[in-house]
Symmetry: C3
Subunit: 206 residues, 3 copies
Protein backbone atom coordinates (compact mmCIF):
# COMPACT_ATOMS: atom_id res chain seq x y z
CA UNK A 1 0.00 0.00 0.00
CA UNK A 2 1.61 3.29 -1.07
CA UNK A 3 1.47 5.30 2.15
CA UNK A 4 4.05 8.07 2.06
CA UNK A 5 6.10 9.59 4.85
CA UNK A 6 4.47 10.42 8.14
CA UNK A 7 0.85 10.00 6.99
CA UNK A 8 -1.67 9.33 9.77
CA UNK A 9 -4.70 7.14 9.19
CA UNK A 10 -7.58 7.00 11.68
CA UNK A 11 -9.32 3.95 13.08
CA UNK A 12 -11.68 1.65 11.17
CA UNK A 13 -10.76 2.95 7.73
CA UNK A 14 -10.82 1.15 4.39
CA UNK A 15 -7.85 2.30 2.30
CA UNK A 16 -7.51 0.76 -1.17
CA UNK A 17 -4.14 -0.88 -1.69
CA UNK A 18 -3.39 1.28 -4.76
CA UNK A 19 -4.47 4.66 -3.31
CA UNK A 20 -1.67 7.23 -3.01
CA UNK A 21 -1.81 8.36 0.63
CA UNK A 22 0.27 11.43 1.45
CA UNK A 23 1.76 11.68 -2.06
CA UNK A 24 4.56 14.28 -2.02
CA UNK A 25 3.58 17.70 -3.31
CA UNK A 26 5.87 19.50 -5.74
CA UNK A 27 8.32 20.83 -3.17
CA UNK A 28 8.73 17.35 -1.66
CA UNK A 29 9.14 15.28 -4.85
CA UNK A 30 12.90 15.16 -4.43
CA UNK A 31 12.42 13.43 -1.06
CA UNK A 32 10.90 10.37 -2.72
CA UNK A 33 14.25 8.85 -3.61
CA UNK A 34 16.52 10.52 -1.11
CA UNK A 35 14.62 10.68 2.12
CA UNK A 36 11.07 9.34 1.88
CA UNK A 37 10.57 9.24 5.65
CA UNK A 38 10.74 13.04 5.68
CA UNK A 39 7.63 13.45 3.53
CA UNK A 40 5.12 15.21 5.75
CA UNK A 41 2.21 12.97 4.75
CA UNK A 42 -1.54 13.51 5.03
CA UNK A 43 -4.12 12.92 7.75
CA UNK A 44 -7.24 10.82 7.32
CA UNK A 45 -9.98 10.73 9.97
CA UNK A 46 -11.66 7.68 11.48
CA UNK A 47 -14.22 5.51 9.65
CA UNK A 48 -13.15 6.70 6.20
CA UNK A 49 -13.40 4.82 2.89
CA UNK A 50 -10.64 5.78 0.47
CA UNK A 51 -10.78 4.15 -2.97
CA UNK A 52 -7.97 4.40 -5.57
CA UNK A 53 -7.01 8.06 -5.86
CA UNK A 54 -4.52 10.49 -4.35
CA UNK A 55 -4.33 12.61 -1.22
CA UNK A 56 -1.28 14.84 -1.15
CA UNK A 57 1.06 15.34 1.72
CA UNK A 58 -0.06 18.09 4.16
CA UNK A 59 -3.76 17.65 3.22
CA UNK A 60 -6.25 16.63 5.93
CA UNK A 61 -9.60 14.92 5.52
CA UNK A 62 -11.99 14.42 8.43
CA UNK A 63 -13.84 11.50 9.97
CA UNK A 64 -16.20 9.54 7.76
CA UNK A 65 -14.69 10.70 4.46
CA UNK A 66 -15.83 8.60 1.49
CA UNK A 67 -14.27 8.75 -1.97
CA UNK A 68 -14.80 7.43 -5.47
CA UNK A 69 -11.93 6.57 -7.83
CA UNK A 70 -9.19 8.70 -9.44
CA UNK A 71 -9.83 11.70 -7.24
CA UNK A 72 -7.07 14.14 -6.23
CA UNK A 73 -6.79 16.28 -3.10
CA UNK A 74 -3.76 18.56 -3.08
CA UNK A 75 -1.46 20.04 -0.45
CA UNK A 76 -2.62 22.21 2.47
CA UNK A 77 -6.26 21.53 1.73
CA UNK A 78 -8.39 20.89 4.80
CA UNK A 79 -11.67 18.99 4.52
CA UNK A 80 -14.11 18.49 7.40
CA UNK A 81 -16.05 15.42 8.49
CA UNK A 82 -18.50 13.35 6.50
CA UNK A 83 -17.66 14.57 3.00
CA UNK A 84 -18.15 12.59 -0.22
CA UNK A 85 -15.33 13.11 -2.76
CA UNK A 86 -16.67 11.56 -5.98
CA UNK A 87 -14.81 9.87 -8.81
CA UNK A 88 -12.51 12.21 -10.78
CA UNK A 89 -13.09 15.09 -8.36
CA UNK A 90 -10.05 17.37 -8.13
CA UNK A 91 -9.52 19.68 -5.16
CA UNK A 92 -6.42 21.82 -5.59
CA UNK A 93 -4.17 23.18 -2.89
CA UNK A 94 -5.01 25.52 0.00
CA UNK A 95 -8.76 24.94 -0.03
CA UNK A 96 -10.88 25.03 3.08
CA UNK A 97 -13.96 22.81 3.08
CA UNK A 98 -16.55 22.21 5.82
CA UNK A 99 -18.51 19.16 6.92
CA UNK A 100 -20.97 16.89 5.11
CA UNK A 101 -20.34 18.18 1.60
CA UNK A 102 -21.13 16.05 -1.46
CA UNK A 103 -18.95 16.56 -4.54
CA UNK A 104 -20.18 14.54 -7.50
CA UNK A 105 -18.16 12.97 -10.34
CA UNK A 106 -15.74 15.31 -12.07
CA UNK A 107 -16.41 18.43 -10.00
CA UNK A 108 -13.40 20.78 -9.93
CA UNK A 109 -12.29 23.03 -7.06
CA UNK A 110 -9.26 25.29 -7.69
CA UNK A 111 -6.61 26.66 -5.36
CA UNK A 112 -7.81 28.69 -2.42
CA UNK A 113 -11.54 27.95 -2.63
CA UNK A 114 -13.60 28.31 0.54
CA UNK A 115 -16.58 25.99 0.89
CA UNK A 116 -18.96 25.74 3.86
CA UNK A 117 -21.00 22.86 5.26
CA UNK A 118 -23.48 20.64 3.39
CA UNK A 119 -22.50 22.07 -0.01
CA UNK A 120 -23.45 20.00 -3.07
CA UNK A 121 -21.45 20.18 -6.33
CA UNK A 122 -23.05 18.39 -9.27
CA UNK A 123 -21.17 16.34 -11.88
CA UNK A 124 -18.54 18.29 -13.82
CA UNK A 125 -19.32 21.56 -12.01
CA UNK A 126 -16.31 23.87 -12.36
CA UNK A 127 -15.12 26.55 -10.00
CA UNK A 128 -12.45 29.01 -11.22
CA UNK A 129 -10.08 31.47 -9.56
CA UNK A 130 -8.34 33.58 -12.21
CA UNK A 131 -9.92 36.26 -14.44
CA UNK A 132 -6.84 36.79 -16.59
CA UNK A 133 -5.05 33.43 -16.78
CA UNK A 134 -1.50 33.84 -18.08
CA UNK A 135 -2.14 37.41 -19.27
CA UNK A 136 -0.94 39.02 -16.06
CA UNK A 137 1.01 37.86 -13.03
CA UNK A 138 -0.86 35.13 -11.18
CA UNK A 139 -3.29 36.85 -8.86
CA UNK A 140 -5.98 34.36 -7.91
CA UNK A 141 -9.45 35.42 -6.78
CA UNK A 142 -10.90 32.34 -5.10
CA UNK A 143 -14.60 31.55 -4.83
CA UNK A 144 -16.59 31.27 -1.59
CA UNK A 145 -19.58 28.93 -1.33
CA UNK A 146 -21.63 29.24 1.84
CA UNK A 147 -23.47 26.55 3.82
CA UNK A 148 -26.27 24.55 2.18
CA UNK A 149 -25.61 25.90 -1.32
CA UNK A 150 -26.12 23.65 -4.36
CA UNK A 151 -24.21 23.93 -7.64
CA UNK A 152 -25.75 22.05 -10.58
CA UNK A 153 -24.09 19.80 -13.10
CA UNK A 154 -21.75 21.46 -15.60
CA UNK A 155 -22.25 24.85 -13.98
CA UNK A 156 -19.35 27.31 -14.24
CA UNK A 157 -18.59 29.78 -11.44
CA UNK A 158 -16.48 32.83 -12.33
CA UNK A 159 -13.53 33.93 -10.19
CA UNK A 160 -14.06 35.79 -6.96
CA UNK A 161 -17.80 35.32 -6.59
CA UNK A 162 -19.64 34.29 -3.44
CA UNK A 163 -22.54 31.86 -3.61
CA UNK A 164 -24.71 32.67 -0.60
CA UNK A 165 -26.17 30.33 2.00
CA UNK A 166 -28.80 27.98 0.60
CA UNK A 167 -28.50 29.38 -2.95
CA UNK A 168 -29.20 27.00 -5.85
CA UNK A 169 -27.25 27.27 -9.11
CA UNK A 170 -29.02 25.35 -11.89
CA UNK A 171 -27.26 22.85 -14.13
CA UNK A 172 -25.31 24.44 -16.97
CA UNK A 173 -25.51 27.94 -15.49
CA UNK A 174 -22.63 30.38 -15.97
CA UNK A 175 -22.48 32.54 -12.84
CA UNK A 176 -20.74 35.89 -13.25
CA UNK A 177 -21.60 37.67 -9.99
CA UNK A 178 -22.43 37.00 -6.35
CA UNK A 179 -25.54 34.89 -5.78
CA UNK A 180 -27.62 36.11 -2.80
CA UNK A 181 -28.61 33.63 -0.10
CA UNK A 182 -31.62 31.39 -0.80
CA UNK A 183 -31.78 32.47 -4.46
CA UNK A 184 -32.02 30.50 -7.71
CA UNK A 185 -29.43 31.25 -10.44
CA UNK A 186 -29.89 29.85 -13.94
CA UNK A 187 -28.92 30.48 -17.56
CA UNK A 188 -25.87 31.85 -19.37
CA UNK A 189 -25.13 34.36 -17.99
CA UNK A 190 -27.11 33.35 -14.93
CA UNK A 191 -30.05 35.47 -13.85
CA UNK A 192 -31.52 35.29 -10.38
CA UNK A 193 -35.05 34.50 -9.19
CA UNK A 194 -36.90 33.27 -6.13
CA UNK A 195 -36.38 29.67 -5.08
CA UNK A 196 -39.35 27.34 -5.58
CA UNK A 197 -40.85 26.02 -2.33
CA UNK A 198 -39.27 22.57 -2.90
CA UNK A 199 -35.79 24.07 -2.51
CA UNK A 200 -36.39 26.41 0.46
CA UNK A 201 -34.81 24.15 3.05
CA UNK A 202 -31.32 23.37 4.31
CA UNK A 203 -29.55 20.33 2.92
CA UNK A 204 -30.36 17.15 4.77
CA UNK A 205 -26.87 15.82 5.42
CA UNK A 206 -25.23 16.21 8.78
Amino acid sequence: MPIFGKSKIGDSCFIDSTALIGYPHGAELNLLKENPDKIEGCEIGNDSTIRPGAIYSTAKVGNGTRTGHNFLIRENTIIGDGCLIGTNVVIDNDCNIGDNCSFQTGAYIPTGSKIGNRVFLGPNASLTNDKTPLRTEYNPEPITIEDDATIGSNATLMPGITVGKGAFVAGGAVVTKDVPAWTLAKGCPAIFSELPESLKKPNRLG
Copy 2:
Protein backbone atom coordinates in the same frame (compact mmCIF):
# COMPACT_ATOMS: atom_id res chain seq x y z
CA MET B 1 -3.75 -8.67 -12.61
CA PRO B 2 -6.34 -7.53 -10.06
CA ILE B 3 -9.32 -9.73 -10.94
CA PHE B 4 -11.66 -9.93 -7.98
CA GLY B 5 -13.84 -12.79 -6.79
CA LYS B 6 -15.86 -14.79 -9.28
CA SER B 7 -15.39 -12.44 -12.26
CA LYS B 8 -15.88 -14.05 -15.69
CA ILE B 9 -13.87 -12.91 -18.68
CA GLY B 10 -14.79 -13.98 -22.23
CA ASP B 11 -12.50 -15.35 -24.93
CA SER B 12 -9.93 -13.34 -26.87
CA CYS B 13 -9.93 -10.35 -24.54
CA PHE B 14 -7.15 -7.89 -23.79
CA ILE B 15 -7.29 -6.96 -20.10
CA ASP B 16 -4.68 -4.48 -18.88
CA SER B 17 -2.69 -5.80 -15.95
CA THR B 18 -3.65 -2.83 -13.75
CA ALA B 19 -7.39 -2.76 -14.55
CA LEU B 20 -9.66 -3.42 -11.58
CA ILE B 21 -11.95 -6.24 -12.76
CA GLY B 22 -14.93 -6.97 -10.53
CA TYR B 23 -13.90 -4.43 -7.88
CA PRO B 24 -16.10 -4.88 -4.80
CA HIS B 25 -18.98 -2.43 -4.53
CA GLY B 26 -19.70 -0.72 -1.23
CA ALA B 27 -21.59 -3.60 0.37
CA GLU B 28 -18.78 -6.02 -0.50
CA LEU B 29 -15.76 -3.96 0.58
CA ASN B 30 -15.47 -5.86 3.85
CA LEU B 31 -14.99 -9.11 1.87
CA LEU B 32 -11.69 -7.86 0.44
CA LYS B 33 -9.70 -8.85 3.50
CA GLU B 34 -11.90 -11.50 5.02
CA ASN B 35 -13.27 -13.52 2.16
CA PRO B 36 -12.23 -12.25 -1.26
CA ASP B 37 -13.43 -15.38 -3.07
CA LYS B 38 -16.99 -14.45 -2.14
CA ILE B 39 -16.91 -11.20 -4.14
CA GLU B 40 -19.53 -11.65 -6.85
CA GLY B 41 -17.31 -10.23 -9.61
CA CYS B 42 -18.22 -8.81 -13.03
CA GLU B 43 -18.79 -10.33 -16.47
CA ILE B 44 -16.92 -9.26 -19.59
CA GLY B 45 -17.93 -10.51 -23.05
CA ASN B 46 -15.67 -11.98 -25.74
CA ASP B 47 -13.26 -9.94 -27.86
CA SER B 48 -13.15 -7.04 -25.41
CA THR B 49 -10.31 -4.55 -24.85
CA ILE B 50 -10.20 -3.29 -21.27
CA ARG B 51 -7.54 -0.67 -20.52
CA PRO B 52 -6.68 0.56 -16.99
CA GLY B 53 -9.95 1.41 -15.27
CA ALA B 54 -12.53 -0.22 -13.03
CA ILE B 55 -15.55 -2.46 -13.54
CA TYR B 56 -17.42 -3.14 -10.33
CA SER B 57 -18.64 -6.46 -9.08
CA THR B 58 -22.13 -7.40 -10.43
CA ALA B 59 -21.71 -5.20 -13.56
CA LYS B 60 -21.85 -6.85 -17.00
CA VAL B 61 -20.38 -5.61 -20.27
CA GLY B 62 -21.06 -7.34 -23.59
CA ASN B 63 -18.95 -8.74 -26.41
CA GLY B 64 -16.59 -6.39 -28.17
CA THR B 65 -16.47 -3.81 -25.38
CA ARG B 66 -13.61 -1.33 -25.79
CA THR B 67 -12.46 1.11 -23.12
CA GLY B 68 -10.11 4.02 -22.64
CA HIS B 69 -8.30 4.70 -19.36
CA ASN B 70 -9.54 5.60 -15.86
CA PHE B 71 -13.16 4.75 -16.60
CA LEU B 72 -15.55 3.43 -13.94
CA ILE B 73 -18.59 1.16 -14.36
CA ARG B 74 -20.50 0.56 -11.12
CA GLU B 75 -22.56 -2.28 -9.67
CA ASN B 76 -25.67 -3.76 -11.31
CA THR B 77 -25.06 -1.83 -14.51
CA ILE B 78 -25.66 -3.86 -17.69
CA ILE B 79 -24.04 -2.80 -20.97
CA GLY B 80 -24.72 -4.50 -24.35
CA ASP B 81 -22.34 -5.50 -27.11
CA GLY B 82 -19.94 -3.32 -29.06
CA CYS B 83 -19.85 -0.28 -26.80
CA LEU B 84 -16.98 2.18 -26.50
CA ILE B 85 -16.40 3.42 -22.93
CA GLY B 86 -14.00 6.36 -23.33
CA THR B 87 -11.32 7.62 -20.96
CA ASN B 88 -12.67 9.06 -17.68
CA VAL B 89 -16.24 7.95 -18.49
CA VAL B 90 -18.21 7.17 -15.34
CA ILE B 91 -21.32 4.99 -15.43
CA ASP B 92 -22.93 4.71 -12.00
CA ASN B 93 -24.92 1.80 -10.63
CA ASP B 94 -28.15 0.25 -11.94
CA CYS B 95 -27.90 1.63 -15.47
CA ASN B 96 -29.18 -0.22 -18.51
CA ILE B 97 -27.35 0.40 -21.77
CA GLY B 98 -27.90 -1.12 -25.23
CA ASP B 99 -25.53 -2.13 -28.02
CA ASN B 100 -23.02 -0.16 -30.08
CA CYS B 101 -23.01 2.99 -28.00
CA SER B 102 -20.08 5.41 -28.05
CA PHE B 103 -19.35 7.36 -24.88
CA GLN B 104 -16.59 9.89 -25.37
CA THR B 105 -14.02 11.15 -22.84
CA GLY B 106 -15.44 12.32 -19.55
CA ALA B 107 -19.12 11.62 -20.25
CA TYR B 108 -21.10 11.01 -17.05
CA ILE B 109 -24.08 8.67 -16.60
CA PRO B 110 -25.72 8.62 -13.15
CA THR B 111 -27.57 5.90 -11.26
CA GLY B 112 -30.55 4.35 -13.00
CA SER B 113 -30.09 5.85 -16.48
CA LYS B 114 -31.67 3.97 -19.42
CA ILE B 115 -29.82 4.25 -22.74
CA GLY B 116 -30.76 2.54 -26.01
CA ASN B 117 -28.67 1.34 -28.94
CA ARG B 118 -26.19 3.37 -31.00
CA VAL B 119 -26.31 6.33 -28.61
CA PHE B 120 -23.43 8.82 -28.81
CA LEU B 121 -22.36 10.91 -25.80
CA GLY B 122 -19.85 13.66 -26.58
CA PRO B 123 -16.91 14.62 -24.36
CA ASN B 124 -17.88 15.79 -20.87
CA ALA B 125 -21.63 15.42 -21.56
CA SER B 126 -23.44 15.14 -18.21
CA LEU B 127 -26.65 13.34 -17.42
CA THR B 128 -28.32 14.01 -14.05
CA ASN B 129 -31.00 12.29 -11.97
CA ASP B 130 -31.97 14.47 -9.02
CA LYS B 131 -33.87 17.78 -9.12
CA THR B 132 -33.43 18.56 -5.44
CA PRO B 133 -30.06 17.09 -4.43
CA LEU B 134 -29.72 16.92 -0.66
CA ARG B 135 -32.73 19.19 -0.09
CA THR B 136 -35.21 16.35 0.20
CA GLU B 137 -34.95 12.62 0.68
CA TYR B 138 -33.14 11.00 -2.25
CA ASN B 139 -35.75 10.40 -4.93
CA PRO B 140 -33.92 10.00 -8.24
CA GLU B 141 -35.59 10.67 -11.59
CA PRO B 142 -33.34 8.94 -14.12
CA ILE B 143 -33.00 9.96 -17.77
CA THR B 144 -33.98 7.84 -20.78
CA ILE B 145 -32.10 8.18 -24.07
CA GLU B 146 -33.61 6.31 -27.01
CA ASP B 147 -31.86 4.59 -29.95
CA ASP B 148 -29.68 6.61 -32.32
CA ALA B 149 -29.74 9.76 -30.21
CA THR B 150 -26.67 12.00 -30.05
CA ILE B 151 -25.70 14.19 -27.09
CA GLY B 152 -23.09 16.87 -27.84
CA SER B 153 -20.00 17.79 -25.88
CA ASN B 154 -20.54 19.50 -22.51
CA ALA B 155 -24.32 19.20 -22.87
CA THR B 156 -26.31 18.94 -19.63
CA LEU B 157 -29.49 16.87 -19.41
CA MET B 158 -31.89 17.64 -16.56
CA PRO B 159 -33.37 14.88 -14.39
CA GLY B 160 -36.24 12.77 -15.64
CA ILE B 161 -36.23 13.82 -19.30
CA THR B 162 -36.45 11.51 -22.30
CA VAL B 163 -34.35 12.17 -25.39
CA GLY B 164 -36.29 10.62 -28.28
CA LYS B 165 -35.05 8.29 -31.00
CA GLY B 166 -32.60 9.95 -33.38
CA ALA B 167 -32.70 13.29 -31.57
CA PHE B 168 -29.58 15.45 -31.64
CA VAL B 169 -28.59 17.60 -28.66
CA ALA B 170 -26.02 20.23 -29.69
CA GLY B 171 -22.78 20.80 -27.80
CA GLY B 172 -23.18 22.93 -24.69
CA ALA B 173 -26.99 22.67 -24.69
CA VAL B 174 -28.88 22.62 -21.39
CA VAL B 175 -31.92 20.40 -21.92
CA THR B 176 -34.80 20.98 -19.49
CA LYS B 177 -37.63 18.96 -21.07
CA ASP B 178 -38.29 15.92 -23.26
CA VAL B 179 -36.73 16.10 -26.73
CA PRO B 180 -39.03 14.65 -29.44
CA ALA B 181 -37.66 11.99 -31.80
CA TRP B 182 -35.58 13.22 -34.76
CA THR B 183 -35.40 16.77 -33.38
CA LEU B 184 -32.49 19.18 -32.86
CA ALA B 185 -32.09 20.73 -29.38
CA LYS B 186 -29.65 23.60 -28.84
CA GLY B 187 -28.97 26.54 -26.54
CA CYS B 188 -29.40 27.29 -22.84
CA PRO B 189 -32.17 26.46 -22.13
CA ALA B 190 -32.38 24.30 -25.24
CA ILE B 191 -34.97 25.11 -27.87
CA PHE B 192 -36.10 22.61 -30.49
CA SER B 193 -36.02 22.77 -34.28
CA GLU B 194 -36.02 20.49 -37.31
CA LEU B 195 -32.92 18.39 -37.93
CA PRO B 196 -30.81 19.38 -40.94
CA GLU B 197 -30.76 16.78 -43.75
CA SER B 198 -27.21 15.70 -42.81
CA LEU B 199 -28.48 14.39 -39.47
CA LYS B 200 -31.70 12.66 -40.58
CA LYS B 201 -30.32 9.14 -40.52
CA PRO B 202 -29.71 6.43 -37.94
CA ASN B 203 -26.26 6.11 -36.46
CA ARG B 204 -23.94 3.93 -38.50
CA LEU B 205 -22.58 1.62 -35.82
CA GLY B 206 -23.94 -1.90 -35.46
Copy 3:
Protein backbone atom coordinates in the same frame (compact mmCIF):
# COMPACT_ATOMS: atom_id res chain seq x y z
CA MET C 1 8.29 1.48 -13.29
CA PRO C 2 6.15 0.62 -16.34
CA ILE C 3 8.27 1.95 -19.20
CA PHE C 4 7.28 0.25 -22.42
CA GLY C 5 9.41 -0.71 -25.43
CA LYS C 6 11.95 1.74 -26.77
CA SER C 7 10.76 4.80 -24.81
CA LYS C 8 13.36 7.55 -24.37
CA ILE C 9 13.45 9.68 -21.24
CA GLY C 10 15.54 12.86 -21.05
CA ASP C 11 17.90 13.96 -18.30
CA SER C 12 16.88 15.15 -14.86
CA CYS C 13 13.29 13.93 -15.05
CA PHE C 14 10.97 12.83 -12.28
CA ILE C 15 8.85 9.92 -13.53
CA ASP C 16 6.33 8.48 -11.08
CA SER C 17 6.78 4.75 -10.57
CA THR C 18 3.19 4.02 -11.62
CA ALA C 19 3.07 6.24 -14.73
CA LEU C 20 2.52 4.37 -18.01
CA ILE C 21 5.38 5.55 -20.24
CA GLY C 22 5.08 4.59 -23.90
CA TYR C 23 1.90 2.56 -23.38
CA PRO C 24 1.12 0.61 -26.57
CA HIS C 25 -1.50 2.21 -28.81
CA GLY C 26 -4.28 0.06 -30.28
CA ALA C 27 -2.23 -1.36 -33.16
CA GLU C 28 0.56 -2.38 -30.77
CA LEU C 29 -1.49 -3.97 -27.98
CA ASN C 30 -0.76 -7.48 -29.27
CA LEU C 31 2.98 -6.81 -28.78
CA LEU C 32 2.55 -6.54 -25.01
CA LYS C 33 2.64 -10.28 -24.47
CA GLU C 34 4.44 -11.46 -27.56
CA ASN C 35 7.17 -8.97 -28.23
CA PRO C 36 7.19 -6.04 -25.80
CA ASP C 37 10.64 -4.84 -26.89
CA LYS C 38 9.16 -3.96 -30.29
CA ILE C 39 6.78 -1.36 -28.84
CA GLU C 40 7.89 1.93 -30.34
CA GLY C 41 7.64 3.86 -27.06
CA CYS C 42 7.37 7.59 -26.40
CA GLU C 43 9.88 10.41 -26.00
CA ILE C 44 10.06 12.69 -22.96
CA GLY C 45 12.28 15.78 -22.92
CA ASN C 46 14.74 16.84 -20.23
CA ASP C 47 13.72 18.27 -16.85
CA SER C 48 10.21 16.89 -17.00
CA THR C 49 7.92 15.94 -14.11
CA ILE C 50 5.55 13.09 -15.01
CA ARG C 51 3.05 12.10 -12.32
CA PRO C 52 0.81 8.99 -12.54
CA GLY C 53 -0.85 9.02 -15.96
CA ALA C 54 -0.24 7.66 -19.44
CA ILE C 55 1.79 8.70 -22.47
CA TYR C 56 1.20 6.45 -25.47
CA SER C 57 3.82 4.96 -27.69
CA THR C 58 4.88 7.28 -30.58
CA ALA C 59 3.87 10.44 -28.65
CA LYS C 60 6.53 13.05 -27.89
CA VAL C 61 6.58 15.66 -25.14
CA GLY C 62 9.24 18.37 -24.94
CA ASN C 63 11.65 19.62 -22.31
CA GLY C 64 10.22 20.86 -19.06
CA THR C 65 6.89 19.07 -19.38
CA ARG C 66 4.91 18.96 -16.13
CA THR C 67 1.84 16.82 -15.53
CA GLY C 68 -0.87 16.24 -12.98
CA HIS C 69 -2.45 12.84 -12.34
CA ASN C 70 -4.56 10.51 -14.52
CA PHE C 71 -3.80 12.38 -17.74
CA LEU C 72 -3.63 10.65 -21.14
CA ILE C 73 -1.60 11.62 -24.22
CA ARG C 74 -2.27 9.40 -27.22
CA GLU C 75 -0.25 8.18 -30.21
CA ASN C 76 1.44 10.45 -32.75
CA THR C 77 0.74 13.54 -30.69
CA ILE C 78 3.62 16.00 -30.50
CA ILE C 79 3.86 18.51 -27.65
CA GLY C 80 6.50 21.26 -27.44
CA ASP C 81 8.56 22.47 -24.49
CA GLY C 82 7.36 23.80 -21.16
CA CYS C 83 3.76 22.62 -21.26
CA LEU C 84 1.59 21.87 -18.24
CA ILE C 85 -0.71 18.86 -18.72
CA GLY C 86 -3.14 19.03 -15.79
CA THR C 87 -4.90 16.25 -13.92
CA ASN C 88 -7.46 14.30 -16.03
CA VAL C 89 -6.44 16.15 -19.22
CA VAL C 90 -6.90 13.96 -22.30
CA ILE C 91 -5.07 14.69 -25.55
CA ASP C 92 -6.08 12.26 -28.30
CA ASN C 93 -3.93 11.07 -31.19
CA ASP C 94 -2.33 13.09 -33.98
CA CYS C 95 -2.43 16.45 -32.23
CA ASN C 96 0.20 19.11 -32.69
CA ILE C 97 0.84 21.40 -29.74
CA GLY C 98 3.36 24.23 -29.32
CA ASP C 99 5.43 25.47 -26.39
CA ASN C 100 4.47 26.79 -22.96
CA CYS C 101 0.81 25.83 -23.04
CA SER C 102 -1.20 25.37 -19.85
CA PHE C 103 -4.03 22.82 -19.92
CA GLN C 104 -6.03 22.83 -16.69
CA THR C 105 -7.82 19.93 -14.99
CA GLY C 106 -10.14 17.93 -17.23
CA ALA C 107 -9.55 19.84 -20.48
CA TYR C 108 -10.18 17.66 -23.55
CA ILE C 109 -8.37 17.82 -26.90
CA PRO C 110 -9.60 15.45 -29.64
CA THR C 111 -7.81 13.79 -32.55
CA GLY C 112 -6.03 16.09 -34.96
CA SER C 113 -6.24 19.36 -33.02
CA LYS C 114 -3.65 22.04 -33.78
CA ILE C 115 -2.66 24.27 -30.87
CA GLY C 116 -0.04 27.06 -30.92
CA ASN C 117 2.22 28.47 -28.21
CA ARG C 118 1.20 29.83 -24.79
CA VAL C 119 -2.39 28.60 -25.16
CA PHE C 120 -4.44 28.30 -21.96
CA LEU C 121 -7.31 25.80 -21.62
CA GLY C 122 -9.42 26.23 -18.48
CA PRO C 123 -10.81 23.37 -16.39
CA ASN C 124 -13.16 21.01 -18.28
CA ALA C 125 -12.89 23.03 -21.53
CA SER C 126 -13.88 20.74 -24.43
CA LEU C 127 -12.70 20.85 -28.00
CA THR C 128 -14.59 18.75 -30.59
CA ASN C 129 -13.87 17.52 -34.12
CA ASP C 130 -16.98 15.93 -35.62
CA LYS C 131 -20.21 17.70 -36.64
CA THR C 132 -22.13 14.50 -37.37
CA PRO C 133 -20.79 11.87 -34.94
CA LEU C 134 -21.86 8.37 -36.02
CA ARG C 135 -24.46 9.72 -38.49
CA THR C 136 -22.06 9.69 -41.46
CA GLU C 137 -18.69 8.13 -42.16
CA TYR C 138 -16.05 9.53 -39.80
CA ASN C 139 -14.83 12.76 -41.34
CA PRO C 140 -13.18 14.80 -38.60
CA GLU C 141 -12.84 18.59 -38.77
CA PRO C 142 -10.20 19.45 -36.18
CA ILE C 143 -9.94 22.76 -34.37
CA THR C 144 -7.04 25.21 -34.62
CA ILE C 145 -6.11 27.44 -31.67
CA GLU C 146 -3.50 30.10 -32.39
CA ASP C 147 -0.76 31.51 -30.12
CA ASP C 148 -1.70 33.26 -26.87
CA ALA C 149 -5.37 32.30 -27.03
CA THR C 150 -7.29 31.54 -23.83
CA ILE C 151 -10.24 29.15 -23.53
CA GLY C 152 -12.29 29.49 -20.35
CA SER C 153 -13.55 26.80 -18.02
CA ASN C 154 -16.32 24.53 -19.36
CA ALA C 155 -16.24 26.28 -22.75
CA THR C 156 -17.22 24.16 -25.78
CA LEU C 157 -15.60 24.70 -29.18
CA MET C 158 -17.47 23.36 -32.22
CA PRO C 159 -15.71 21.30 -34.91
CA GLY C 160 -13.55 22.98 -37.51
CA ILE C 161 -13.32 26.44 -35.99
CA THR C 162 -10.18 28.54 -35.60
CA VAL C 163 -9.61 30.58 -32.45
CA GLY C 164 -7.35 33.45 -33.52
CA LYS C 165 -4.16 34.71 -31.89
CA GLY C 166 -4.73 36.25 -28.47
CA ALA C 167 -8.49 35.62 -28.54
CA PHE C 168 -10.25 35.04 -25.21
CA VAL C 169 -13.17 32.62 -24.93
CA ALA C 170 -15.08 33.20 -21.70
CA GLY C 171 -15.98 30.41 -19.27
CA GLY C 172 -19.04 28.42 -20.31
CA ALA C 173 -19.12 29.89 -23.85
CA VAL C 174 -20.30 27.73 -26.75
CA VAL C 175 -18.29 28.81 -29.80
CA THR C 176 -19.88 27.99 -33.16
CA LYS C 177 -17.69 29.95 -35.61
CA ASP C 178 -14.15 31.30 -36.03
CA VAL C 179 -13.05 33.77 -33.35
CA PRO C 180 -10.99 36.66 -34.79
CA ALA C 181 -7.61 37.46 -33.24
CA TRP C 182 -7.60 39.54 -30.04
CA THR C 183 -11.38 39.24 -29.65
CA LEU C 184 -13.59 38.28 -26.69
CA ALA C 185 -16.16 35.50 -27.24
CA LYS C 186 -18.84 34.83 -24.62
CA GLY C 187 -22.31 33.33 -24.21
CA CYS C 188 -24.27 30.47 -25.76
CA PRO C 189 -23.96 30.74 -28.70
CA ALA C 190 -20.91 32.96 -28.25
CA ILE C 191 -21.02 36.53 -29.52
CA PHE C 192 -17.89 38.58 -30.12
CA SER C 193 -16.78 41.91 -28.67
CA GLU C 194 -13.65 43.93 -28.06
CA LEU C 195 -11.21 42.68 -25.44
CA PRO C 196 -10.97 44.74 -22.25
CA GLU C 197 -7.58 46.44 -21.75
CA SER C 198 -6.59 43.92 -19.07
CA LEU C 199 -6.55 41.14 -21.67
CA LYS C 200 -4.83 42.94 -24.56
CA LYS C 201 -1.43 41.37 -24.03
CA PRO C 202 0.32 38.13 -24.96
CA ASN C 203 0.42 35.35 -22.39
CA ARG C 204 3.32 35.63 -19.98
CA LEU C 205 4.72 32.11 -20.16
CA GLY C 206 7.79 31.36 -22.25
